[in-house]
Amino acid sequence: MASWGEAKDSRLIGKRVSRLSGTDKVTGKAKYTFDINRPGMLYGYILRSPVAHATITGIDLSEAEALPGVKAAIPLIEPGKRVRFEGQEIAAVAAITPDIAEDAVRLIQFDYDELDYVVDVESAKEEGAPQIRDDWKSNQSEPRVDERGDIEAGFAEAAVEVEATYHAPVQTHVCLETHGHVAEWDQDNLTVWASTQAVFGTRQNLARHFELPENQVRVITEHMGGGFGSKFGPGVEGVTAAKLARKAGAPVKLMLTRKDEHLVAGNRPSMTQQVRAGATQDGRFIAYDMSGYGTGGIGSGAGFTGPYVYHVPNHRTKKSAVAINAGSARAMRAPGHPQGAFAMDSLMDELAERLNLDPLEFRRLNSDSDARRNRIRQAEYTLGAQEIGWHRRNRVPGSGTGVKKRGIGMGCGLWGGGGGAGTQARVTIHASGAVEAVTGTQDIGTGIRTVIAMIVAEELGLRPQDITVKIGDTEPGLASRGSGGSQTIGSVAPVIKTAAMAAKRKLFGHIAPLVEADPGDLRAAGDKIYAQSDLRLSIPWKEATGYLGMETISEGGEWDENLRIGDVAGVQFAEVEIDTETGLVQVIKIVAVQDCGLVVNRLTTESQINGAVVMGLGYALLEERIMDDQTGKMINPNLEDYKVPGTMEIPEIVSIAYDTDRKITGIGEPPTIPTAGAIANAVYNAIGVRIRELPITPDKILNALG
């Protein structure tokens, strides 16, 4: 049975290794999809609906086609069909420069009959609101009701109750690299450079669309500027790039604009929930009755978690989605969890206060029903509380004196992230000593490229930079799943590990007779192969591989369940300072204690935690898609009024990897879950007034302080 071995025997695993592509990235050598330029390449641009709801009655491309420099123009919607949100695709052009393409799009004539629209969730629920989805009876989906235990008996047993409404807005992904593709045809072969989280998924989708066998479509993603769940397929824009390229007979680059990105490229649905909850005098969370909904725009899903993390024997939940005339939701970093966690952790604090209990103690009493996760979480509570200085919080919320008031709060999260079977990989050893690791995963910025090199290097006794890692390309045909759900490392690492083990075994088998050793006695370390029983027998790596002569070793790997683990727990603590005269919230410090399984690269693990915390901080304090009722438009589709955190907003982040297991798991998503709840609770602890609606902006604080 394969194992990751003991920590004391690891040379690389668990250490801090800089990204192999780091230098290329900071020097600009790394090529992202945006940077791909092909000979004769054209630029694509999409005409989008300026209105939220309309029936298209006609599209006339002739003026656009006549503009010099325009090489192709295509409609993207049939007359008679409806556009249902601002930004929906109507037509597209390809031209020899981006400017001509944009000019051409403005020459496209299109007619439409405007329809009534609704962009406000509350109005969308009302009777008589314009119907958005044909497959629903109204704009609200059939609620999903879930009931456990006996809710009435639970409330009867409760000594205290809390009733509250929590709300979180729609958040957009704000990928630094916008969605986009470069598409190139060679007769019936299509090559696409894509900014995607799934090269194989994108290939399949394109192959189906163009009715091609998979092996006639190649998808390449060498470097990628963030997806956060929004980039699993080619989308309308990817298919459009390929259609334009075919029509024009030239490669086409089509990247979305920042505005497109906010309007059409996905978002985290909103959440509104009314909850009534009860706890017993001795601090047991006993009853939870929650009814809530969110909007995923024209999309169908807007789910969120609840109850969450904490064990409550009696609960009833009723959840639905509300459609509005806005771009569809997509998976976004821990879909459903941050919104659920914010509400749940706010509620836990409110219950604890009614009970006169320390919120940490109340959590300790009611944490996860899963035994392993509970054990880990209890340990994380202790570590985090110590690091933040939990004892320093205000016993009486808001009791600090002075204009600037500090507070401390906490929040929790959980996630799966164990990966799964389906990745194919090969590790190849050449006679020259060169080593290649090939698999069909993609590095979406998380650092999997470096992790692969570390695992192979550890196994073969080499340095990470000695390993050539080939990923982000469907061409070798070694499939891997999309990078989502924090599943990448759990899916890829076991296969790489077993492939490297197999290649090493093969190499030892090959050279053992030549050096008169027992293959089982051979070891690889420090750029050498040596015999365990006789250290005088030691051959430099390259000399050893030289024995391969004309042969090449190339071994596949198997996914091994025992090398990975899922179901992680995370706990965060936040300290904030609130200027009570201006309403500004400054986060001073976040302590993120994250169950990480086996840490492969400590540096990139911490980077993931840092990034996730910053995203959670934006969710807590700044970010919100704002829809305007009067016009049906998103009124802040930019990075001026849609505010993401900048350097001044980023606090001290202490990440504590809780890594007692020697099995691998993914943590891209879990550390973004607890942040907003922890900050909201810290705000309450500072000022003694609870803000139940994200983002917690100065206007809300000032209004609350009166």
């Binding site: 300026p50 000019d103 005269e581 201006t582 309403g583 500004l584 400054q586 700044l622 704002i626 305007d628 009722d629 009067q630 016009t631 438009k633 009124i635 802040n636 930019n638 001026e640 009024d641 505010k643 955190p645 900048g646 350097t647 001044m648 907003e649 902006t697 100065p698 206007d699 809300k700 000032l702 209004n703 302080l705």
Partner: protein, 325 residues
């Protein structure tokens, strides 16, 4: 953006002749940090863009007995870093340093900062034609007005976005304008106009007039000044509310207070009420508080911007207390 001809102006005198007397035909460009956004969003679609950066000499800061003259092309970064401005016109250095981000301060100019267009999100949306853009509705009235005016609004409710303008007005600055009929100089305070005068413009400029310089009088002895700006995001953001305060002190007494607010009105808003509450008084905590309260007594908040009332009150108080401590 639409195509346009790009013309380098050789000197100030030439500019009026290069400009059309129709706003929509020509635009001047300095640092371009504001204009470029407007061009890209098709909010402005001029036929010609006249580059001012090619004019020599407008990027200088000159000191003489009368005070300080700052050319229209001086960058915000240079203003923020200027030792004399930091020492004697502190409020201006602080205001310039609070603008946007380092990148924008490195190219954004003083002239552009004073003449920049509104940030109202309806105005900046390419597909929305509001009153300011020649339409017939101010969408902010019934719509999303969290960032809009609590003073001086109607029929449009923008807030003037400039950080340097309140500071300069608090220091008694004058502005020099060159037009087809020669030049004119006026108090910067009189440069800005309320929307009931002209809902489509923010200042007195004619389409073919150019701001060439700003002059600051020699500061009165014992003047102390400061700029307090509150923004939602510290990294870069316009003011929710800001206050430029310059006090001429006489011992512990405030002989003359200048209190000019940003982010609250369609123009930099001199708070006569706050000034009256401070003039001739020793600045105590109670007096500072009264000044804040007096300033907002006549505020007219809209549906979403009521928070600006306590915010304005509190930062006037804060600015006053900063100046006496």
């Amino acid at each position: 953006m639409e195509n346009f001809a790009y013309i380098n102006a050789a000197n100030v005198e030439q500019v009026p002749s290069l400009m059309s007397d129709d706003w929509s035909e020509t635009k001047m460009i300095a640092g371009g940090t504001d204009l470029l956004g407007e061009l890209k969003e098709y909010i402005e679609t001029p036929k010609k863009v006249i580059n001012l950066k090619s004019i020599p000499g407008l990027d200088e800061i000159k000191a003489d007995a009368s005070g300080l003259t700052i050319g229209a092309l001086v960058t915000l970064a240079d203003i923020a870093a200027h030792p004399t401005i930091q020492r004697h016109y502190t409020v201006l250095a602080e205001a310039a340093a609070s603008v946007a981000s380092p990148q924008i301060r490195n190219v954004g100019t003083l002239g552009g900062n004073l003449c920049q267009r509104p940030r109202c999100w309806y105005y900046r949306h390419p597909d929305i034609i509001c009153l300011k853009k020649g339409g017939d509705t101010c969408y902010a009235v019934e719509g999303l007005n969290k960032y809009h005016a609590i003073f001086g609004g109607g029929p449009v409710y923008i807030v003037h976005p400039s950080d340097t303008a309140p500071a300069l007005i608090a220091l008694g600055a004058t502005v020099k304008i060159v037009g087809p009929n020669g030049d004119r100089t006026m108090l910067l305070e009189d440069f800005f106009i309320l929307p009931d005068v002209n809902p489509q413009r923010e200042n007195v400029l004619e389409p073919n007039e150019v701001v060439t310089e700003v002059h600051l009088p020699q500061p009165k002895a014992h003047t102390k000044s400061t700029y307090v700006k509150v923004r939602e995001r510290g990294s870069f953001d316009f003011a929710l509310v800001s206050v430029a305060a310059a006090f001429e002190m006489n011992g512990g007494t405030c002989h003359k207070a200048n209190v000019v607010l940003g982010g609250v009105a369609p123009i930099p808003w001199r708070s006569k009420e706050a000034e009256a509450a401070l003039n001739g008084k020793g600045i105590t905590a109670a007096v500072a508080k009264q000044a804040g309260e007096a300033a907002v007594a006549n505020a007219e908040p809209m549906t979403d911007n009521g928070y600006k009332v306590p915010l304005t009150r509190n930062i006037i108080n804060r600015a006053a207390m900063t100046l006496v401590h």
